[in-house]
């Protein structure tokens, strides 16, 4: 690789050809402020439209300032990152940006966690000249079940567009209008709900301002907890415990399972349960379905649909309903853990505590925004009453905990309630990419072969590579497994299946980078991939420390089948724990 020598702020450095000024400066420990630029290293996710012009620097011999995020270095380049010309330009550009941005930071969901706010502080903006007569661009606020778009706050960084188009290949968001009226949204200024949006929430996860936020349900939860006639129970998804601590200043990757349970109990939830329990249940159903299809396939049944695809991720479910409806009989029919939990809670558990369905409120804490949409899908309601009443994100939970004056750092560790709070390590690893299929393998292997697994850690299924492949020996039967995180990567595997070229028996798909730990409802990673990796490690740590690490050995799962469901794929299971998918593809007719 060719090397290039250059000088930045009087310091010399040698970097590889093709390096940008921004990256070269970073190697020297020189921080150039960036706003639209975003790089999730190792995940191949980079946004550098060169649009905000905050990162401009002075390059000797060049007439105008250069955007450091997208200008490659050249031999002998001399760069000044903080000359007065640069400082004046940066501050003036920032004043431009702020002059077209609402000043309602007091009530903005992003306040305190906003890249734009941080940048205004860093650049020392104290006033916006001419604000009193500056016209602001205004748009209608778009409310969807998961995501709220307030484009008055859009600064055209295009990160959401990049995530939606390049990474997820969903294509719901793109720039519309031009000049001062330009913003990012669905085509023809449709509402998100009418677009192909899957509610994966990755646009929200990367938005530097309050233009894209989640639909907040904390007020509904407060109301439910204040209502003496209701029993309110809560379930917490596996990825939440690996990230919640970050909101309280803890190191990324700190596990706060016990403290989280403690906080939820102090918030007044009558029972604190675990979605991991439902994850174990998912493995029983999905694993059985996999074995069922596999057995039929191996005995020569040509009709059976393989590979089987996981169905825990609601954004992924939306994705294939929109883009691959002709393949909707391929994914497992198993509902997601959130919905399995809700269905069991409002039947089996409601009976146990002699509470009527309508008096039981199920709240879920999710790393995900698509879960909000999933919870209100019609299939998951009985007479209009949803199995899961409110789904709130990790961020929303953090707000609630802070609002209740609870300090997560000092709370004691407490255990989940029984029976729906007991889980195996297999349920925990649902929270990271590759975890669902590893959990399924642990159970399916033992059920299929009748033998005990000697080693439970399937390292070949772990990691952050976009698409991973592994073959697991099921006692002489090789099972080919595929894993994809990110819908763009999933699309590649689906195209293979469509073309009849797929070599897999089972595929796990998660919409978000890194799986649920990188979900749209998690504490903001501010484009630091190491945070996602630390969360994944925490998940595997929790698994390793669990006394039970296989779903089918969870005693409360065994009991649930004995007392209520019968066996996996039973009629009752089918009714409560499985679902059907719909064709959501549509053509836009141009008249």
């Amino acid at each position: 690789m060719d090397k290039i020598k250059l000088t930045i702020d009087n310091k010399q450095i040698e970097v590889e050809k093709g390096t940008t000024i921004y990256k070269a400066a970073k190697e020297l420990g020189i921080y150039i402020p960036v706003l639209c630029y975003m790089n999730l290293e190792g995940l191949n996710i980079e946004n550098k439209p060169g649009g905000c012009r905050i990162c401009v620097v002075e390059v000797e011999g060049r007439n105008n300032l250069a955007p450091s995020c997208s200008t490659d270095v050249w031999e002998g380049m001399v760069v000044n990152t903080h000359s007065m010309r640069v400082i004046n330009a940066r501050r003036t550009v920032m004043e431009f940006i702020l002059s077209d941005h609402p000043k309602d930071c007091l009530t903005c969901a992003k306040s305190g966690n906003c890249d734009l706010q941080d940048m205004a502080v860093k650049l020392g903006v104290r006033e916006i000249p001419g604000q009193e007569y500056a016209e602001m661009s205004t748009y209608k606020i778009d409310f969807s079940p998961s995501i709220i778009r307030d484009l008055d706050k859009c600064i055209m960084c295009r990160r959401c567009e990049m995530m939606c188009n390049d990474f997820q290949t969903v294509g719901a968001l793109s720039a519309f209008n031009r000049g001062f009226e330009a913003a990012v949204g669905p085509a023809f200024e449709m509402e998100l709900e009418d677009s192909t949006c899957t509610y994966c929430g990755q646009c929200v996860a990367v938005c530097p301002t309050g233009a894209l936020t989640e639909k907040d349900h904390t007020r509904d939860v407060i109301n439910a907890l204040s209502d003496p006639t209701k029993k309110v129970i809560v379930q917490t998804a596996p990825a939440v415990r690996a990230a919640l601590g970050e909101e309280f200043g803890m190191e990324p990757g700190t596990l706060v399972t016990g403290k989280m349970v403690s906080a939820l109990r102090r918030l007044g939830f009558d029972y604190v349960f675990d979605t991991d329990f439902a994850a174990d249940l998912t493995i029983m159903e999905e694993g059985t379905e996999l074995l069922d299809r596999l057995t039929k396939y191996l005995s020569g049944d040509k009709e059976v649909k393989l590979p089987i695809l996981t169905s825990c991720c609601p954004a992924w479910v939306s994705f294939f309903e929109h883009y691959f409806p002709e393949m909707k009989d391929i994914p497992s029919t198993a509902r997601s853990p959130q919905q399995m939990f809700g269905a069991i809670a409002k039947t089996y558990f409601a009976d146990k505590i002699s509470t009527k369905r309508e008096d039981l409120v199920v709240v879920s804490i999710m790393p995900c925004l698509a879960k909000k949409y999933e919870a209100q899908r019609d299939e998951f309601k009985v007479d209009g009453n949803p199995d899961v009443d409110f789904s709130i994100s990790t961020r929303e939970l953090a707000h609630l905990i802070k609002e209740a004056n609870l300090d997560l750092n000092t709370l004691p560790d407490e255990d989940f309630d029984k029976p729906l709070g007991e889980s195996s390590g297999a349920g925990v690893i649902f929270g990271t990419t590759g975890g669902v299929i590893e959990a399924a393998v642990r159970t399916a292997y033992e059920l299929h072969t009748g033998k005990k697994l000697e080693k439970l850690d399937f390292e070949q299924l772990r990691g952050f590579e976009a698409i991973r492949k592994a073959t697991i020996d099921f006692d002489g039967t090789p099972i080919n497994i595929g894993i994809a995180h990110g819908l763009g990567h999933a699309r590649k595997l689906l195209d293979e299946i469509k073309a009849g070229k797929s070599e897999f028996h089972a595929i796990e798909i998660m919409a978000c980078p890194g799986g649920c730990i990188g979900g749209g409802g998690q504490p903001l990673h501010h484009s630091d991939t190491s945070i996602l990796k630390a969360r994944a490690e925490a998940i595997y740590r929790e698994d390793a420390g669990k006394p039970i690490r296989k779903s089918h050995e969870n005693p409360y799962i065994i009991k649930l089948y004995e007392e209520f469901l019968g066996k996996p794929m039973s009629e009752k299971s089918h009714h409560l724990l499985h679902t059907a998918y719909f064709d959501k593809s549509k053509k836009i007719e141009m008249s």
């Binding site: 649009g51 905000c52 012009r53 330009a89 007569y133």
Partner: protein, 496 residues
């Protein structure tokens, strides 16, 4: 027929190279083009010249891009030729968008084959077999004539396979633009052709390395191509004798504004502004006083009396604080308010910014707002400093040529007409009498006979007065429409 300035336009001092055939041949008949040595250059290139020879000839000619940037065309071709790829493209930028400019349209309407021939030559020299003309859909006649010309060229074996019985094949397709000004920027143009949003991207990579569909692409504008066949016919040494040291050949300008003869002129580089305005253009309309000339369209600047003897070429115009641009030339007289002129151009750039980068998207809007306030008499001296700072930062930080030049009208008027800005700000007066908000209509008592005609025509009832008595205009009600002034037969109403 193409408007070439009518009969009044003097041919004196003009040389026709790009417009050589315009108005002379029937553009819908390829035989007429061939009769004037059309396709001779292509034949010569394919049968007698190697690609390198052609590129050298174009380089030697000193031909620079006529779209605005003035980049040496031969060098562009050379870079595209050197980049190896399975497919390359020759693109013609016919997205002419400067207000009042119609050089390219005239060439395409009057001499479409010159462009087709040049594109084929370019294709041969760089190793491309496909040509694309990106043309605004608002140019229906140019599109029609191009289509006819392409069909005829195919019929005559001048496009398609085995052109002039050689192995060379080349064909051209049209791509329609929706009239966005920014799509004249080559990267935005390419994105638009690809079906993407017409937005510029940062260069490098240059189109010559990675352009249309990420293949090496040469983008030149219509007028640049129109110069190519004649250069190859008559030789680089013929061409480079015309013009100045660093700007060779001629330039077509669309002369407009307060000038007696409006229309297209083609003059050798090095002609002075005075010669264009007074000798070719016939001087200022109604023999009023010349005030300024705006060159380079919205990206250019306003030049004054002291620049009139500047020889026009790429570098001189930039040095004077304006630019060549694609060839717009608008002449202004003493009645033009320079703050309003700057505002007019900013209004255009605000409308035409794609919105991708913040200084152009928001900064230009803020510039416009400030200018608007000044024309309304709401400006302060501090605002003039802000105008300059904002302008400099927008130029310094914008992503593409649009934002990098959009403040030029503001900066050049600040430089050359600062007193006029000050008059707006401190005296709350518009010396040119163009800013309505700064004007008041008065009745001159001595002249008023009390005929009541003004009061009757006033649409808002601002004028009162008894018959045969002096009338009064209430400035609070007056909307400054000027109807009274126009109606008064006694010169009793004036505006100050």
């Amino acid at each position: 027929m193409t408007n070439l300035g009518g009969n009044k336009m003097s041919r004196h001092k003009q040389i026709r190279i790009a417009l050589n055939n315009c108005g002379v041949i029937d553009p819908e008949n390829i035989r007429e083009y061939i009769a004037r040595d059309g396709y001779l250059a292509l034949g010569k290139c394919l049968t007698e010249m190697k690609p390198d020879d052609i590129i050298r000839e174009i380089k030697d000619s000193g031909l620079r891009g006529r779209g605005g940037g003035g980049f040496p065309a031969g060098l562009k071709w050379e870079i595209a030729a050197k980049n190896q790829a399975d497919q390359k493209y020759v693109v013609c930028n016919a997205d002419e968008g400067d207000p009042g400019a119609f050089m390219d349209r005239s060439i395409l309407e009057g001499d479409p084959h010159a462009v087709i021939e040049a594109m084929a030559i370019c294709g041969y020299s760089m190793g491309a077999t496909k040509g694309l003309i990106y043309i605004r859909a608002e140019y229906p006649l140019a599109i029609k004539r191009l289509k006819i010309a392409i069909d005829q060229a195919r019929e005559f074996g001048l496009l398609g396979k085995n052109i002039f019985k050689t192995d060379f094949e080349f064909d051209i397709e049209l791509r329609y633009g929706a009239g966005a000004f920014v799509c004249g920027e080559e990267t935005a143009l390419i994105h638009s052709m690809e079906g993407l949003r017409g937005e510029p991207t940062i260069k490098p990579p240059y189109p010559a390395e990675s352009g249309y569909l990420e293949k090496p692409t040469n983008v030149n504008n219509v007028e640049t191509y129109a110069n190519v066949p004649i250069i190859l016919r008559k030789g680089a040494n013929w061409f480079n004798k015309i013009g100045t040291e660093k700007s060779k050949g001629t330039k077509v300008f669309a002369l407009a504004g307060k000038i007696k003869n409006v229309g297209l002129v083609e003059v050798p580089m090095g002609t002075t502004l005075r010669e264009v305005i007074y000798e070719i253009g016939g001087g200022i309309e109604n023999d009023k006083k010349f005030k300024a000339v705006q060159t380079g369209g919205p990206s250019g600047g306003c030049l004054t009396e002291k620049h009139l003897d500047t020889p026009i070429d790429f570098d001189n115009l930039v040095q004077a604080g304006s630019m060549m641009g694609s060839g717009g030339m608008i002449v202004m007289d003493e009645d033009n308010c320079m703050v309003s002129v700057a505002k007019f151009y900013l209004d255009f750039t605000v409308e035409e910014s794609c919105g991708k980068c913040s200084p152009c998207r928001i900064g230009n809007k803020r510039l416009y707002e400030l200018l608007d306030r000044i024309t309304q008499g709401k400006g302060e001296m501090e605002d003039l400093k802000r105008l300059r700072n904002m302008s400099n930062v927008i130029k310094d930080t914008s992503l593409c040529g649009l934002g990098q030049t959009s403040p030029n009208p503001v900066l050049s008027t600040l430089d050359n007409f600062y007193d006029e800005y000050v008059a707006h700000v401190t005296d709350k007066k518009c010396p040119a009498g163009e800013c309505k908000d700064l004007m008041t209509y008065f009745v001159i008592e001595e002249n008023c006979v009390g005929c009541t005609a003004c009061a009757r025509v006033c649409p808002v009832g601002a004028i009162t007065g008894e018959k045969k008595e002096v009338h009064y205009i209430n400035p609070e009600i007056c909307i400054k429409c000027g109807a009274c002034e126009e109606r008064c037969k006694f010169d009793a109403i004036i505006v100050k």
